[in-house]
């Protein structure tokens, strides 16, 4: 099939003067090239990224000595009440952080979009909003250790509460939850802001002006003109933030280590604890498999709303 042209497609009489892609011969050769180039590299990476899943399944159904033990580890993983406790705490964390981040980010974006006209100030806000996002999570933990720590934290100093009865932000149950969630809000509200602000720039100014001529209030302008443009972005942000909450680890590890008790022992910290503090890798593998399956299901839902190839 590639008899005479070998790899000098342009020398082929039919290709001269024509766009290569449109000749059938060249096209089929190019399609072969797609696989020749893609398969070795993509295949390797795909295997390397899939091995952990297969290995986690194997680890979960075998004992330390290598014998097959069936679903025992899954039974122990699902029978552990601390798992449900960690899911519940993760849910509370998300329920505090995500609405504030999304509504706050959206609110600030609308505020800046409507009232700040200067491009220099807009650019300055853009850079400022990027700062929390690009700070390594570990460093964010350190930053807020300095804010919330008892005796040395600056918050209690500012509140004038330095005595023996000062609020223990990191070691009393409801406060530790609020403290860790507040860090999430500090770091990710600017992210929502940036996405929403970028989204607002795509709203055609003619529709906004037409609405204003018709006497639309600020609310109806948002509800009927801007919101439709922002809806896909709101979904995207929500999905990314949910995925991020499931992986929350670094800043909480630095701030509370999961305590007090199990107050801030969120899902990732719980799995870490089972696997590496209790060295129960069997149960941890079962949990890893369950989480990977759950996130894959979640991802198929995400794909339904966000077609992977958005052109």
């Amino acid at each position: 099939m590639s008899g005479n042209g070998v790899n000098a497609a342009p020398a082929h009489p039919f290709a001269i003067g024509a766009r290569i892609r449109t000749t059938w011969m060249a096209r089929s050769r190019q399609e072969q090239l797609v696989y020749k180039l893609l398969l070795p590299v993509f295949g390797t990476v795909f295997v390397l990224a899939t091995i952990p899943f297969i290995l986690a399944v194997i680890q979960a159904v075998t004992s330390d000595s290598g014998g097959f033990i069936g679903l025992e580890n899954f039974g122990r993983a699902l029978g552990n009440p601390l798992l449900y406790e960690s899911i519940k705490q993760t849910g509370i964390y998300a329920a505090i952080a995500l609405p504030i981040e999304i509504l706050g980010g959206l609110g600030i974006a609308l505020l800046v979009h409507r009232t700040v006209r200067s491009n220099i100030i807009r650019a300055a806000i853009y850079i400022a909003a990027m700062i929390p996002i690009v700070i390594p999570q570990i460093a964010v933990g350190v930053v807020f250790r300095l804010v919330y720590a008892a005796d040395y934290g600056i918050l209690n100093v500012l509140l004038g509460q330095t005595g023996p009865h000062q609020p223990l932000w990191l070691s009393s149950p409801p406060l530790a939850m609020i403290a860790t969630a507040s860090v999430d809000i500090w770091q990710w509200t600017p992210f929502v802001y940036l996405v929403m602000f970028a989204g607002l720039q795509t709203v055609p100014s003619e529709s906004v002006e037409a609405a204003q001529v018709d006497g639309a209030t600020t609310w109806t302008q948002f509800r009927h003109i801007e919101l439709p443009y922002l809806r896909p972005l709101l979904l995207l942000v929500l999905f990314f933030r949910i995925a991020d909450v499931i992986r929350v680890f670094d800043h909480v590890y630095v701030l509370t280590g999961g305590g007090p008790g199990t107050t801030t022992q969120f899902l990732s910290l719980y799995i870490y604890r089972i696997g590496f503090k209790f060295s129960d890798l069997g149960q941890a593998s079962a949990l890893a498999v369950l989480v990977m399956v759950a996130m894959t299901l979640f991802y198929t839902i995400v794909l339904r709303f966000l077609p992977a190839d958005r052109g």
Binding site: N7, A9, G17, R19, I20, R21, E31, L33, V34, L38, V41, F42, A49, I51, L55, Q59, I108, L111, V112, Y126, M130, I133, V134, P136, Q137, I138, A139, V142, V143, F144, R145, L146, V147, A149, Y152, T162, W186, F191, L194, V195, A198, A243, I246, R247, F249, D250, V254, S268, L281, A284, A288, V291, M292, M295, T296, Y299, L303, A308, D309, R310
Partner: protein, 281 residues
Amino acid sequence: MTHRSRGFTRVATSVLLAVIAFIFAFPLFYLISTSLKTKADLFAPVPSLFPPAPTIDPYISVLFTRGFGGLLVNSVVVGLSATVLSICVAFAICYPITRLPASPRLRAFVLSWALSLRFLPPVAVVIPYFAIVRTIGLYNQLPALILVYTIFNLPLAIWMLRGFLDEIPLEIEEAALVDGASRWYAFRTILLPLSRTGILAVVIIVFAFDWAEFLFAFILTATPQAMTFPVGVQGLVTQFEIIWNDMAAGAVIAIVIPLSLMIIARRHVMTGLTFGVIREK
């Protein structure tokens, strides 16, 4: 709206934005302030807002006395190697799906597979990797981290690079091909130079992500031989008595590198973080 009420709204908005900016900036200010305090300042009954006698001793203590300079080198070596690998792999994957007539289904599969990695919590992945890395003798070795970082920051590289490549018209290369150039020659002399800005942006952002990674490094390394800088910073926090100024200095160093990189590549940061949904024009 009357003139006066518009002026009032303006002032109110400015005040509100200033308050928000203050709340966001204050913790960082206090971090820097603490990192410039002397050891004696740490024992003040009430910690001060500003360092009474600013000093860079905590930075020297972290980098040299505590030997974190070595961790910094590890972080740079791991970050650079993983970034270069990610870019090469991303190119090998993005070239066929953007420059050749790959079927839309194949293209969609590759891209959605890449995005799916973004949804896997590292803690679930690290448990099996921990076993692999110990079995093949790479525990506490930099190559293990390079490998893992390459794979898990690949989605970012693929999505960003694909966005940049899509913007370069196919016709430019095709013209060269029609003139008798080989694909490899066209890639090297046309596509590569045209995508230079894009490659640079991907390099910077992937490196910043590699740099900030904590959990994999925390679990797959054990000694300063292979530990990365964020693992070292974490070690400063959980000791029994926290040396606040050293801890703050460590965090400042950890922040400065990704922050300056991101400011250089600021036009592309959001593209990276949203996997190409947000595009700067």
